[in-house]
Symmetry: C2
Subunit: 330 residues, 2 copies
Amino acid sequence: MATIKDIAEKLGLPVSTVSKALNGSGEVNEKTRQQVFDTALALGYASRKERKQKPSSKICIFIENMGFEKIEHFGYEIIVGFRLAATERNWEVDIVPISMNERIDYVYDDYMIRNGYSGGFLLGFFLHSDFHRQLQHTIIPTVVLDNLILNPKVACVGVDNYQGVTYAVEHLASLGHTSIALMNGEGNSRVSQERYQGFKVGMNKCNLPVRKDLAAYGDFTSDNTAPYVRQFVENGATAIVCASDYIAVGVLGELAKLDLRVPQDISVTGFDDIPIARYSAPPLTTIRQDRLNIGKSACVALEQIIEGMAISRFLLAPELIVRGSTGTVR
Amino acid sequence: MATIKDIAEKLGLPVSTVSKALNGSGEVNEKTRQQVFDTALALGYASRKERKQKPSSKICIFIENMGFEKIEHFGYEIIVGFRLAATERNWEVDIVPISMNERIDYVYDDYMIRNGYSGGFLLGFFLHSDFHRQLQHTIIPTVVLDNLILNPKVACVGVDNYQGVTYAVEHLASLGHTSIALMNGEGNSRVSQERYQGFKVGMNKCNLPVRKDLAAYGDFTSDNTAPYVRQFVENGATAIVCASDYIAVGVLGELAKLDLRVPQDISVTGFDDIPIARYSAPPLTTIRQDRLNIGKSACVALEQIIEGMAISRFLLAPELIVRGSTGTVR
């Protein structure tokens, strides 16, 4: 395998110029870059990193310090997926529970450097503005779940929320539904906004109108859907797309109180495919997030950032899982 | 390294159950999956694929059969980035020029299977609807540039268009501009739509209004900007965000005809950072796409799809490059 020096000798160029060309620097003119690339390909160039056995890196996964139930339902498999991929790379992984949705009293970069971490994976749903601010300027390769941070060192992983809700809408439209409502999560959450965009895209694709009286922001729990469900039913909805399985389970409860049968009178879809989706009555048609592969994708993204790639978003394709909560329009 | 059989023996479970649990199948109950994952981690599980030396794969890069100039300016480095990453993986790469924007007279999957390709990378800007339709149902791991195909076997790579245009708008706002226009590419192009969304997001972030009389769809060339530029100037624009460097160069020409100086009278930004951006008069402030890493990311994505990950989008972070075409508002 050839080195930068081999390429430089072959072309009669300074090593620094070859290095800059290979790193995509704008300082090298186009013709020279092209010669360097051609020669690199011809000689079978491999960077020093590739030639040496990679040293072991230490990575920190921060998990939201919430109740065990939620971690069990959502975060556990992501961590397993990450760790399986990290093992292949000979990486050590520490897991540190913190409260990401509260003010933090330390500097993220200091913490990571002091503890010898090469990268971090933040597995929390709501990041406090403190964290957001710090991550916008961090120099530590970092991956976050479902949050977008404008910093080339920070990548976002998760499923493609647009696609997921689009699939739910298309499924309902194929069953004849035209009055489809959206029961969303918190309005200030990025995930909610993306799911609303996906709803609009899906409705447009199916030539259905997005009605303001059939879309509401609430929160991502089961507890606060009553007024919205009542409103949707009064306004003629025959199907309710929910932004999470927890919301969908709450909606099922409210519909039961109104003596409406699912799916005979009204259809309901969830999002996430957490275990309760399979055990609700009826079982939920939902959008599955492949959590093992989300964990793996976080590890792949982190490896690329460490190697110098500036990643914005690495999004997986969601999958529609059809169960008993959806049926043809009444 | 442990195998699936080791895990099955340790837990007294059928091999098929362990395999399903590790593949994330919904048929295995939650408790069993958790036991399997815990045991897999404890025993240091590695899949057969990991234990064997990976066989060499053969990949096909399709490049748009356009003039050499455009490939040289944009596609060449992407191909180099892909090939460098493919070499590390011991992959063979063939390059096949085709006309992706025309009707195709063969079946993509047949072609790939007949020629022994494990995956494809389509490097074209406009995909004919024939191609779109075929890719929606392909079983061949495939990566496309700047196109979104709803198929878990097909991933999209490119830079984050939203982020890029947001950076351009924020840069202009920081120079005092409030009447910012958008000269976009074709209205039916996904890239144009995303760049328009990024424009709206950026203007919102800067508390600036998006004015209909200061936004237009044209095309991605230099040749057809005259009527729009005239309209923007008449409507008081002090800056024009362009959706490509080619468009920006066209806009510079039209502004010269109107006797307007750049950046003293009006500022202009491009997108892509192709070589002409550095050599225009004045040199263009633009949004850089890291084409070497786009190529690398295509290879990384393809590897993950081949291993079973369903990727929707793998987007890199763009970079603002400030040159002479932007200045403080007059």
